[in-house]
Symmetry: C2
DNA sequence: ACAAAAGTGTTAACTATACACCCATGA
DNA sequence: TCATGGGTGTATAGTTAACACTTTTGT
């Protein structure tokens, strides 16, 4: 593509926060990897890559995610751009952060391991390179803010999940106790959970009913002005 | 700055939404200008410019704002980055949008006019170039969302303002009627408005008391976990 | 005296919170 | 039979929403 403008050209990178929820450990996790290139080879980093000349930035984010996790068609949304002139000693790089929410079951662990990537507990983050610590902090805040007003949590759980699992997920996002009776009431009151005739017996003897999130109904309601809101 | 990475370099632009509130017309306005360079010279555009090699993106946004309005030290916050490969036929350009809230009184109208810029009513936007229409739509949504949970409105009013002015500002942001008794109660209940011993008599014979927003107190409260929330 | 905007309180509906026990089951 | 987690209801406090009249003052 020819440029008719005059101006300085620079590298544009994508850095992607990948959140996953471990249903068994009941912990929210973030995917970090050991950087392979210099500077900072060997340090913890978000997954990332450079935007190509002919590539939409959203496609670049999808590519990064696919390359590192093998996943496609998952929740992916832009966060913030970082562009201090000296943020990367390797050159002038503008970085656009994205965050993705994935169902940990889905992931091709081989691909992740192959990249030296690892799921780390969000409460025990190592010090990552560059401004990735800021990206993570801001991303967590956005996740908290957005999970109140959009049904994001379902992106982090398997298609079929139990109410105790959903509750524990919210508790790990907000890092606080939530009353289970009130939580169930609010959740069921949305009318967006479909109760299945099946129980998960892995976590208790009694077993907890599986539910599914009613995506179609949700999108219908949104069209009519519905506004998901917990808390 | 030398680059040790391999990747495609591209132009990075800032496009800035500048919101102002006209207290007399009681209308929320956005600053647009008639673009001077090709492609699309003569069409309506947001104010903007390219990020320089040695410049932080936030500084670039400040520079753009200063160059077009003469203003410095005003509210300025990043919105979203736009990066479709073909979004600009003039070249591969990634654009980072910002929004600014200014006190219309402040502005150096000469500087604005000199750039062919104009304050346009947000309900009567012309069709702007490129994806600036999307930027404006998204920016308005963010303004609405953020004005609920942060005291942004005071950035748009003079230091001294009346409650009827504040009410009308919220009404123009949300484009709906708000009950004045409930509004006053909530606003005054924050304890963040300092009543002055002065009245604005331009809008009525009785006159309305001037208030000031207590910024210091607000920042104190925020430190202690306070969370501004209307509606 | 009247027009025009400023200012003020109460009630009802709703929402959020706090809280404790019984149920089903596998071991 | 007992230990474990799943499931349920109610009462109270707090918040939001609806609503109409009086005050001030310049003309």
């Amino acid at each position: 593509m020819t440029t008719i403008y005059e101006g300085d050209k620079m590298l544009v990178a994508i850095d992607c926060l990948v959140f996953g929820y471990d249903v068994h450990e009941e912990k929210l996790k973030l995917l970090l990897f050991k950087r392979r290139i210099n500077p900072f080879a060997g340090s913890w980093s978000l997954i990332g890559g450079f935007v190509k000349e002919e590539e939409d930035i959203l496609d670049a984010a999808r590519r990064v995610l696919r390359d590192f996790t093998g996943l496609d068609n998952v929740f992916l949304e832009q966060l913030t751009s970082y562009g201090k002139a000296n943020r990367d000693p390797g050159g002038r790089v503008i970085s656009i952060s994205y965050y993705s929410l994935i169902k940990l079951d889905d992931i091709h662990f081989d691909k992740v391991r192959e990249h030296g990537a690892k799921w780390l507990d969000i409460t025990e983050m190592p010090d990552p390179i560059l401004d990735h610590g800021d990206m993570i902090a801001q991303g967590l805040n956005r996740l908290k803010a957005n999970a109140r007003t959009a049904p994001l949590s379902f992106e982090l759980l398997p298609e079929e999940f139990t109410l105790p699992q959903l509750l524990k997920l919210y508790q790990s996002i907000y890092q606080k106790d939530i009353d289970d009776r009130n939580f169930r009431k609010k959740m069921l009151a949305t009318g967006l959970l479909i109760k299945l005739d099946k129980k998960d017996k892995t976590a208790s003897k009694k077993g907890a009913f599986y539910y599914q999130f009613d995506k179609e109904e949700y999108h219908e309601l949104v069209k009519r002005g519905y506004y998901f809101d917990l808390f």
